[in-house]
């Protein structure tokens, strides 16, 4: 009796170890072991990659698994794209984690993930070997000041915006609005949204102290509930009337104005790979840049297609016509 029990236990243990080992095996092994299914794979892959230019290599590599981490601002987009991609390529397994731009950049340069997403250029972060990373500018996000609808204005000059955020102007009546005190809502020092807003909205001036919240959703809620509050949000958060998106120097915060380069506050959403992308990572990045995603999924999710940009910007923030 005891022996059979022990034997079955041992069998179970071996089975478990086997399963674990199978799960933990690297991409390469998996690809090999999937060799028998190759014919299925190819038909699936070719269905999915009709719009792709590089069909030859993508057919081989629309299987296996990759992990992506980083920017929480990009996470919804990449996750949605990964889901679509996987439904078209059932052999592919793409894990998308958030965690922040810093995490994404660190992990991709250490090689723990295949793609690291970031709101900022790798050059802007300390301790990242930017020259080892390859930048894929997947999308563009426009940002603008978000104010409580009760402040009475929806257009602000850049000079006034700076004065508001540095604490020089403390009441909206000074700008022709209602007589309510200004409450600042900031993002944390190291946030990419904050960096973008400070660089291109405030020309690098440091914002005064104010309530600091980590998530854009919380910022939106606070601005919508607090009289006289001002914060900054990506365009995708202006979905209802609870907060007002400010025009800056008379330029409306629209996708078109960002694409033409007239609206100043925007940032690339970068996907970094360590060295040139290869295998499934390359196929997936090609998919992100395809028309299907750039003109379909991106605008749906509130991002701006990077392929449609008429201007480009380098890591130093210099903007040039494309």
């Amino acid at each position: 009796m005891k022996k059979t029990k022990l034997l079955s236990f041992a069998a179970l243990l071996i089975l478990l170890i086997g399963i674990l080992a199978a799960c933990g095996s690297s991409n390469g092994e998996e690809q090999e072991s999937n060799g028998s299914n190759e014919t299925d794979q190819e038909t699936d892959a070719s269905q999915g990659s009709e719009s792709e230019s590089d069909e030859g290599s993508s057919e081989e590599s629309a299987s296996g698994s990759i992990t992506i981490s980083g920017s929480s601002a990009m996470q919804p987009l990449v996750a949605a794209a990964a889901e679509q991609f996987m439904s078209e390529n059932p052999e592919a397994d793409i894990q998308v984690n958030a965690g922040g731009s810093g995490t994404g950049l660190s992990e991709v340069s250490e090689g723990t993930v295949d793609i690291g997403n970031s709101d900022v250029f790798a050059e802007e972060k300390d301790g990242i070997p930017a020259d080892e990373l390859v930048d894929h500018k997947v999308a563009v996000v426009g940002m603008t000041a978000a104010v409580n609808p009760g402040v009475g204005i929806d257009d602000i000059s850049k000079e006034d915006l700076k004065k508001v955020f540095t604490g020089e102007i403390t009441n909206w009546s000074e700008l022709g609005g209602e007589d309510v005190d200004i409450t600042l809502v900031n993002r944390p020092d190291s946030s990419g949204t904050r960096a973008t807003f400070v660089n291109f909205g405030l020309d690098g001036e440091t914002p005064a102290e104010g309530v600091t919240e980590d998530s854009s959703n919380t910022v939106k809620q606070i601005v919508s509930e607090t009289e006289g509050a001002i914060g900054y949000l990506a365009f995708s958060y202006f979905t209802d009337d609870s907060v007002t998106a400010m025009a800056i120097d008379g330029v409306e915060p629209t996708d078109e104005n960002v694409q033409s380069g007239e609206f100043p506050i925007w940032a690339y959403q970068h996907s970094y790979t360590k060295g040139e992308a290869e295998g499934l990572a390359k196929t997936f990045l090609d998919y992100l840049m395809s028309d299907e995603v750039q003109t379909g999924l991106l605008p749906e999710q509130g991002y701006i297609a990077s392929t449609k940009m008429q201007v480009e910007r380098d890591a130093e923030g210099n903007q040039t016509d494309k």
């Binding site: 009796m1 929480s72 958030a98 965690g99 922040g100 731009s101 810093g102 995490t103 950049l105 660190s106 250490e110 972060k125 300390d126 301790g127 990242i128 409450t183 944390p188 020092d189 190291s190 946030s191 990419g192 440091t206 102290e209 104010g210 309530v211 600091t212 919240e213 980590d214 919380t218 809620q221 606070i222 509930e225 607090t226 509050a229």
Partner: protein, 307 residues
């Protein structure tokens, strides 16, 4: 089976003895292994955190004195400064203030459950308290953000994001810890104490105040300190309502920040190995050291327990 029957009585006895000692050994190994893993994990975390936490001082040459005493926190400026004092102060402030609110409530609840209405009081209060434990901290934060902050904004001054809001949220969160431990402490008092006091002619309230509370005091203090340790480590709920500014607060209605909220706010955005990231680890080390102090206090208090 057949084999077994064929064995003689003496052999069977020896065999069962062998089995028993084998089982004894197996149990011992299993339990020791568990203990070893736990100890290793704790020691590993401590070593890791110490190494990581000291890096900002040893590698990046941030002055530890500036870190602990300066109120100027601006890691991204051209002349970066790393003063964590406002956050240490904020952490300690919300911890002590929330203990100040939660301790009387929790101990009062415990007295109610054990002395005033032991039968139905426990039946009503116990599930309520268990319910409070089960609510995740983000929900507390969300309720604080949508109910408490606007309430303080309308009835007090400022934006509503304040030490006060953080304190109220925390005191509700640590209430179950304090109440549960205090209830156990009061319930564990020998009934001879109550009977003796009542026999001497003391009223119920006199008995509670003069006899039972002093007798249970070390355990009650342990309950409060454990509650404070929980408050000290809480990040998410506080982060949502405290405002997270880096200035030293001047009043209860001023916004503030705690060590944990600064860590959670910045951890994801900074890159591993950078100075900003390392200073966050240093804050983690301070949290660890202070929670060690809390544990030392608890150990000291429980060693004083007489009954």
């Amino acid at each position: 089976m057949e084999n077994k029957a064929a064995l003689s009585a003496g052999e069977r006895l020896i065999k069962s003895k062998q089995n028993r000692s084998l089982g004894e050994l197996r149990g011992k190994i299993l339990v020791t292994l568990c203990a070893l893993i736990m100890i290793t994990a704790t020691v590993a975390v401590t070593i890791f955190l110490t190494v990581k936490g000291l890096q900002s001082f040893l590698v990046n040459h941030v002055s530890p004195i500036e870190f602990l005493t300066s109120t100027n926190w601006n890691p991204l400026a051209d002349q970066p400064s790393y003063g964590a004092l406002p956050f240490i102060f904020g952490s300690l402030a919300v911890t002590f203030l929330s203990a100040l609110i939660a301790a009387p409530l929790g101990i009062g609840g415990a007295i109610f459950m054990t002395e005033i209405a032991p039968s139905w009081g426990r039946k009503v209060l116990q599930p309520v308290i268990e319910l409070l434990v089960g609510i995740p901290s983000v929900v507390y934060g969300f309720i604080g953000l949508t109910v408490l902050v606007p309430f303080i904004r309308e009835h007090g001054a400022g934006t509503g994001f304040s030490i006060l809001a953080g304190t109220i949220v925390l005191s509700i969160m640590i209430l179950p810890t304090i109440t549960t431990i205090a209830t156990d402490a009061m319930g564990a008092l020998p009934s001879s104490l109550r009977e003796g006091s009542l026999a001497l002619g003391a009223t119920r309230w006199q008995t509670i105040r003069k006899v039972l509370l002093p007798a249970a005091l070390p355990s009650l203090l342990t309950a409060v300190v454990l509650g404070m340790a929980r408050a000290f480590g809480e990040a998410l709920a506080v982060q949502m309502v405290i405002g997270n500014v880096r200035n030293l607060p001047a009043s209860l209605l001023d916004p503030s920040a705690t060590l944990t909220t600064i860590i959670t706010l910045n951890m994801g955005h900074t890159t591993y190995g950078s100075v900003e990231n390392n200073t966050l680890w240093s804050m983690g080390l301070i949290l660890l050291i202070i929670s060690f102090i809390f544990i030392l206090i608890v150990r000291y208090l429980s060693s004083r327990r007489k009954i």
